[in-house]
Symmetry: C2
Subunit: 298 residues, 2 copies
């Protein structure tokens, strides 16, 4: 899989690992997306696209809408434009920045794909890889945190299994921590907006993320942020302990991770050996006490 | 963050969570990518693009190439076309399917972005979000497995921290397991190529992935695959135990995960209580033995 150069030099740099896709976060805010189809696959695409703030048009006869599509269009009203009809031709594509199809008609899908390519509109035809400029994958979402798991079509099931493993590993409050860091970052930009301090801003924000644990970041209040920002001029980052004036620290991110993945930070020392030794001492003491008491009693 | 409908119905379906990007695996095989720039950021882009099998042109004066770029272009020779000059104008963009710039000249970057948009070429200007049709993120690669972590620019550091947490959670042999599943899947397609059995093929492959653990899949030999494929006609999936005729099963994926994330499957029962009880009994026994021996001796 890996393509390696012939020079010793090579070890210094990441190897090229061919055969992948280019994993991206496509920006759809203010962009227009056309979704052709009204079944469950189309409903999944709809969520992906609306999660990314696109202006969405759905083209599908009402008679063929699945229950989720009906809900999204008529109850939740998250679809910006709905057209109750079949795809008619090239003019249906005018003005769109991305086209997704999820219909059973393979011939029509192929024609839509060709029309999109002629117009240089990125297109995805569900379940037909050669007619896709991009693939979807298994997704995890926690507020601003997004994770994509892709196996390049080699194993959709194993991608879902991997997604579950990753889901369990992500600390529960991480989405909230990222959200709060985003707020702090925006406040810092207001306080020190000059472009020339861009690198210093970045370095200081890194300090904050390394000084405060995920738990602490997730619970960062406006007052906390003001106290942290007071350190900007001097280039210092006060700890959560200092800012909050509390005795018992909220656990560090590392500890939280370990707790979540089930390993106690001192697990190597305390279990089961420490338990064993403690038990041994206690057992010896109890047995001795009983025997000595009996002896004395006699 | 979440946009909820007003109906009780809503609970049935995934909420829309606005403010994200559309996470995708862009397909670059056979596509032409132009990379403008020769510094370390450009070198990172180069790896991303060549990992995805694109035809890559680099445009940057030789005098400004960083050491990694020099290595990739002249030693490793992974760049398909290198032009030792500055960007000259619109005609430089002809024929490209994607353009990435990573240069210090903000004005030139903006102009390149505008030209790309006029030509409907997807473009990314490093560090200038409004001039990006797509963002990059933190990546994990294990053979065919690719994972993208994105915080939508809210916290690059926290994205890298998240990537490390995820990296540690992914079983080591998962990439290999996916690779082998891909080979089995291709063999199955040869054996049963008819389109009408597509759904059955998918269901049977899911059975394989659920019957065999990641470890077993990762070590699946050609002989194993032939034995598994013998079950296709009857719609059965023989276990690794049956196929390999071994007594001691290779551990199941779940166990491997637990081992990797540090939780023993019986951790709740055996540590530290079991150690403590064992120690208590042993301690009592030893103390009793000593005291009783002394008593007998007297």
């Amino acid at each position: 899989m890996a393509e390696n150069g012939s020079r010793a030099d090579n070890g210094k740099y990441q190897p090229i690992c061919k055969g992948g896709g280019l994993l991206l976060a496509w920006q759809l805010k203010g962009k227009r997306v056309l979704l052709v189809g009204g079944g469950p696959v189309a409903a999944g695409r709809l969520v992906n696209v609306k999660d990314a703030d696109a202006h969405l048009t759905v083209l599908a006869p009402r008679s063929g809408l699945c229950s989720e599509m009906k809900f999204r269009i008529f109850e939740q009203k998250v679809v910006d434009a709905y057209e109750d009809r079949l795809f008619e031709g090239d003019s249906d594509l005018a003005g769109f920045d991305m086209v997704l199809t999820a219909i059973d008609d393979a011939d029509l899908s192929r024609r839509i794909c060709q029309m999109c390519r002629a117009r240089r509109i990125p297109v995805n035809v569900a379940d037909v890889p050669p007619e896709c400029d991009f693939y979807f994958g298994s997704l995890i979402r926690r507020g601003p945190l997004q994770v994509l798991v892709s196996t390049g079509g080699k194993g959709p099931r194993i991608a879902a299994q991997t997604r579950r493993i990753i889901e369990r590993a992500i600390p529960e409050n991480l989405g909230e921590a990222i959200e709060r860091v985003g707020v702090l970052r925006a406040l810092l930009r207001k306080q020190a907006p000059e472009q020339k301090v861009g690198a210093r801003r970045m370095a200081w924000m890194i300090d904050v993320c390394e000084t405060w644990s995920f738990d602490e970041l997730a619970n960062m209040t406006e007052a906390d942020m003001r106290a942290i920002l007071a350190g900007w001029e001097k280039g210092t980052v006060p700890s959560a302990r200092r800012v909050r004036g509390i005795k018992h620290m909220v656990p560090r991110a590392e500890d939280v991770r370990k707790r979540i993945t089930g390993r106690c930070p001192v697990a190597g020392y305390c279990t089961p050996w420490l338990g064993g030794i403690g038990g041994f001492v206690l057992g010896a003491a109890v047995a001795s006490a009983i025997l000595l008491t009996r002896k004395t009693a006699r």
